[in-house]
Symmetry: C2
């Protein structure tokens, strides 16, 4: 075939000078061009179109905002928002070239997923690569998350997604065996077992490079709670050395470049409050594999107000974790635990940090449920060591905790990550407090995890570290009318009001007869 | 239950002065606060959080950008991007108050839809209200679109959605009967029958307040093509008077406030290229009902490269249209037409405007397929008049066209909407042209609508009005090797290159034997 081309016109666009525009657009790269800029007019860009900005062999993708004020950018300049400017990494005034960003090559695969098709390994690899390179718009990211959520990925697809996600980031290799980690799928407020399990296991000498996450929809993640006492955002190499020296850490994985696609996806999943089985498994397994773990203990709490509500559902999820982990070469042990109520006493970063430190200190007020669950989990992890007999783990874990060796290890880790002043006997709680009391006498027969988490979040947790809920009664406790069930701490008046209104709509507690409490047979 | 509240703290935030920030963020409202602004620090806002800005009893919702440059906003100011500033409608310097935007009340319903549940009439009403009031973020909008797309709304749900969408905008009542309209579901390039049907029907005296749309994923919508010759963005009241006087119009519905939710949804559907049956039906029916139409002729083209590929699929879609329209009290007639190739000769606003005017002028080069299809559609519409015998419509329509009365009516409408200079004998085509020729001799046995549309879009249509594709051969034509199949017009070199590359990957034409052409039995 022959193509005749008439009247070619040369692109004679002048290079633009880079300007740093002091606007913080969060994760969204924004570029600013003046409306009268020759390039803007010639290229026929549209506001919010995605453009590619290049300088010095580097490039960033950004959404375009069109400016009519030369004090922001003039016609010879291209402006970049703070984070985009930092990413491009060249000085102000440097020449930059700009073009329409090509649509990501994986978009046809995205469309097939939206239409409900099954995707191939190559499709997932292409999508995850584009996502990790920030080539997807928010709209495309959301479409991917919702399409995967609704159609339910099959287990092969979850493996493809996990595998692709583990490959796009940096990957750690500890050059030893076993490298152990534990993870809980979440949903249970106050469940800070990692902060006890890691010091115990590391004190025993096992390598446990725990990646921790921040809260997505909960009032605190392990990283948020640890941050009360220590720095959790460490440079990659520093974290690496730290783990080798101390056998463990409690630091946030998000900045550690381990799973960049997961980080991007979470920015969409968070506001949508979406957490489908496939995405959950891919997110967790990909990060553990990238972190170089060889063994993983996974905790699935079950309860009427937990993420997983029934044993059959928990068993299905366990099988999905087992399938994907095994395909990825990760040894996994899944435990199904009692998720009928919050674990520990406090909900919120400071309150949970207090509980954790009290358990480590063998303090008389330490919450026993948190202690017991942590010891059982640590025991199971210790048994990943082939030299420890099945059933012996719990006793070893308890010795390490009771002897103060776990506390000592925690102090080492805190120091290594960068200690922040924190006194568990005098925790810096948020200043505005109110109590919620029992409306009638009886036995506590149910505690709604979701509602307790919501109250703590409305009160300001995790952003206000000292905000949250301090539980004063637990499942099976006998309470008298007017007796406080829990205290709510808030940092700001508006947040206090929101939390108060939420408790007025429902306390989260059910009071009834002792035999109303449904038994739960967990596999742990 | 009693709640004790300790240490209330009063909010003593200073009012901020409004500043117009000369940044065009397209449909996305953006607010700018300085990082050192007391309010920003006190409220603990996050960048990209949604905030509500109020002044004078009005309010806008906006995403927050945090600024570190006092020349953009200082600590006593709140900045708003251009469109948001216009929407709030108060002067610079006016005091504004700002708060965290509450999440839209329909979000729980959205989550149920994401999880695959069926929604109630009230759910759809709440969602559509929130969408039309711009309370949904892009992420939430996308989630709604994808969730409705994947699960496939059932027909009751499509009715609920259509009904809700028709209620949130302004609604026209013409106080006469019948009020007729026609609509094509799209997918066939060049298919500009509305621009012929409306003048014919209006010339006959029927009231035909045609709402037209801009291209979403196609190289031109009726509004884009009409815009070559006339203004299509008319104020609501002006459009209203115009239709009463001239019995018809060809103006864009988007700015006419008829279906504000549809406008918002399209901003998400467009980049995702999503067009599910349910959303299509709701979008079309809601707009027609809001526009006060009592009768609708709906065109579903079928072909291997049309939106609808098979007759069974077309019949299913017809039944959905019929069900929803009837529930909404709209008389509907659905025709299933031949969609195996583009209609008319040109693809792109200027080229299509040329074709339309040639048909109206009874020009010897007028494309006959466009003429014939338009006459048949107009005939069916005329038969909505109970006084016209079934089968007589076509003849009446042909008389109106042949006599020049349709052309005269078109001129009236163009003048009334605001004429733009356009000479169909000398159309302002884009300057860069190339031809695509037949690679071998034979008969044209297939033309890929999608590919032709894509080539025209890559060449710049509809943004560059003169860009597009001019077809020189049609289905069943005998062509010799080297004979031009079509011409491509582009306005810019880069766009020409994109279009050229696309034709090199595939011309969109299949050349073979005459009996390779599959027959198609349409219902028309």
């Amino acid at each position: 075939m022959k193509n005749k081309t008439s009247a070619p016109v040369d692109d004679q666009s002048m290079p633009l000078g880079l300007k740093r525009v002091a606007i913080d657009t969060y994760r969204e790269n924004v570029a600013y061009l003046h409306r009268e800029c020759e390039l803007y007019r010639a290229e026929g860009f549209q506001a919010l179109a995605k453009i590619e900005v290049r300088a010095n062999g580097k490039r960033v993708l950004a959404s375009l905002n069109v400016v009519d004020d030369t004090s922001i950018v003039d016609c010879q300049q291209l402006g970049l928002s703070e984070e985009a400017f930092a990413k491009l990494g060249v000085a102000e005034g440097h020449a930059v070239s700009v073009s329409q960003a090509e649509p990501p090559s994986s978009i046809p695969a995205l469309h097939r997923k939206i239409a409900g098709e099954r995707l191939s390994r190559e499709d997932f690899a292409a999508i995850v690569r584009d996502i990790s390179e920030l080539r997807y718009s928010k709209i495309e990211l959301t479409a991917f998350v919702v399409a995967c959520n609704q159609g339910e990925l099959d287990r092969e697809e979850v493996f493809y997604l996990s595998d692709a996600m583990s490959r796009v980031g940096r990957k750690l290799d500890w050059h030893e065996h076993p490298v152990v980690d534990k993870h809980c799928i979440g949903g249970i407020p106050g469940n800070r077992t990692s902060m006890l399990v890691v010091p115990i296991v590391a004190a025993h000498g096992m390598l446990c490079p725990k990646t921790s996450s921040r809260a997505i929809t909960s009032p605190a993640g392990t990283a948020d709670t640890m941050e009360v006492m220590a720095n959790v955002e460490l440079p990659f190499d520093e974290l690496n050395q730290l783990v080798r020296r101390h056998r463990g850490c409690l630091a946030w994985g998000g900045t550690s470049e381990l799973s960049p696609a997961d980080d991007v996806l979470i920015a969409v999943e968070r506001p949508l409050n979406i957490d489908s089985p496939g995405q959950m498994v891919a997110s967790i397994i990909s990060k553990k594999v990238a972190a170089g773990s060889t063994h993983l203990l996974l905790d699935i709490p079950v309860g009427p107000h937990a993420k997983v509500r029934t044993m059959p559902e928990a068993r299905r999820l366990r099988k999905l974790f087992e399938f994907v982990a095994t395909r990825m070469g990760l040894v996994i042990e899944v435990v199904i635990t009692d998720g009928r109520q919050p674990i520990g006493q406090g909900i919120g970063p400071v309150l949970e940090a207090r509980d954790v430190m009290r358990v480590l200190q063998n303090h008389p007020d330490a919450p026993n449920d948190l202690r017991q669950k942590s010891l059982r989990l640590a025991g199971r992890m210790l048994e990943f060591n082939p030299d420890i007999r099945g059933g012996d783990g719990f006793g070893i874990a308890r010795d390490i905790l009771d002897s103060g060796r776990a506390l000592e290890k925690m102090h080492d880790i805190i120091q290594a990550q960068g200690a922040r002043p924190f006194d568990p006997d005098n925790p810096p709680l948020a200043p505005l407090m109110f109590e919620v009391t029992a409306p009638e006498s009886g036995v506590v027969t149910g505690i709604d995890n979701l509602r307790m988490a919501r109250i703590a979040r409305l009160a300001g947790a995790p952003k206000a570290q000292g905000a949250g809920v301090d539980m004063l009664a637990r499942l099976g406790d006998r309470v008298e009318r007017g007796q406080p069930l829990y205290r709510v701490y808030a940092a700001y008046r508006t947040e206090q009001t929101f939390a108060l209104q939420a408790t007025e709509r429902g306390t989260g507690f059910t009071i009834g007869q002792a035999d109303d409490i449904k038994p739960l047979n967990v596999e742990f």
